[in-house]
Symmetry: C2
Subunit: 254 residues, 2 copies
Amino acid sequence: MWRNCVRLARRGLGRGAVLRPAPTVSRCGVVRGLSPAAPCSSLWNSVTWFSQARQLKDYALPNSSWSQGMMDLYSRFLEMCKDGTWKRIPSYSSTIDHIPESLKLTAEKERKETRLFLRNMDLEGVGFEYAMFLNPAEKRMVCLFQPGPYLEGHPGFAHGGSTATIIDSTIGGCAIFVAGRVMTANLSINYRNPIPLGSVVLVDSKVDQIEGRKVFLSCQVRSIDGQTLHAEATALFIQLDSTKSLQQQQMSFQ
Amino acid sequence: MWRNCVRLARRGLGRGAVLRPAPTVSRCGVVRGLSPAAPCSSLWNSVTWFSQARQLKDYALPNSSWSQGMMDLYSRFLEMCKDGTWKRIPSYSSTIDHIPESLKLTAEKERKETRLFLRNMDLEGVGFEYAMFLNPAEKRMVCLFQPGPYLEGHPGFAHGGSTATIIDSTIGGCAIFVAGRVMTANLSINYRNPIPLGSVVLVDSKVDQIEGRKVFLSCQVRSIDGQTLHAEATALFIQLDSTKSLQQQQMSFQ
């Protein structure tokens, strides 16, 4: 079954069951009220440049805890990055390091002893092991996710909150691509089948529609052979006003 | 404003804005198809007894990282436990220690190097600091939650996934009370205002309705003065068949 996945990946990520067909980008309709697409998509480029300049540790690179399944899938996606169809997204332990200096609010310029929730463990392999890839043309973000033994909910399975977290982050990354800085307004998840700890799943998210500052997205979490649907979700993200603090603008749109 | 909260707490947890009025238990309708209430509610008693027998560390007790606001609120709830209206819920680092031996599936009897997602950090105060209290008559579970600096999403604020996690756990605890072993089927969250790291919020959940194996619940996350609504959520939990593995039964009801 793994061979099927690889073969289909070689054909450019086909197979609906494994990775859904490209979302119909035209479903997004007219992008009203959003900043132009170019500055948003270039946010990721800025992040990459910024991290290289500071030589931060990128946690979205393979480590010894990654299973063979995780490694193989990662390699396939890397291969597909070569022609620019997909783009690997780096990941750091501090939230602030994902934001280019030019886009930081004044209060965000001071470094603090905080950590990004998904990168808060010192030990490799016990928490969230993941790597994200962006397909700009399809407005789609995929995350390869291997939940470690410290993410337990029911014995032997990933906690529903950890599944919500990886969905929120993946779908959020997709929203950032089209709208720059965003915030989750709604996240609705249907849990279909529990995710075994140590397994590898694909979190596959896409932009469905954009209306003014609102970005509507959806997501599926499947086993890498595509046979098991673990969860599916819809989300609404709101584009933020870069001149206001998070609290100010969150209050203003409700 | 804190004084208001305390005064109202002394009156037995009134004030809708801080902790909502008791849910109308009659809204639950007839409890059809669920196991009798007694075995479910006695699950918590079994957990307490079990932990005492093994002398496990209870993480839901105050530590030096708790702010004065967290300590004060905790003390008020402890006070309300004295007449049996509320019950403090213990919390351990391993999921398996929350399940009495008599209710464990065969595969769950072997101890593994896993950790409950919310209790996976060795350092006090950096992750999820929380304590839950159950009101059996109101079918209501409240969680006092102080998000630490390692739960960051937007700079300075709790990650949406960490908010989803504490909601899922609190609402899940409420579902366990009425239905024994359960699993999240749907979780829908509206994020209203971001939660500052280091602040204290109240996660207030209740059972709204029970239909066969389905338990419908809702939840609000508010600042301790009740003035700020951070998030609200609805959830559907499914009562599990204790004779089947998690994967078997999750497949069977969908």
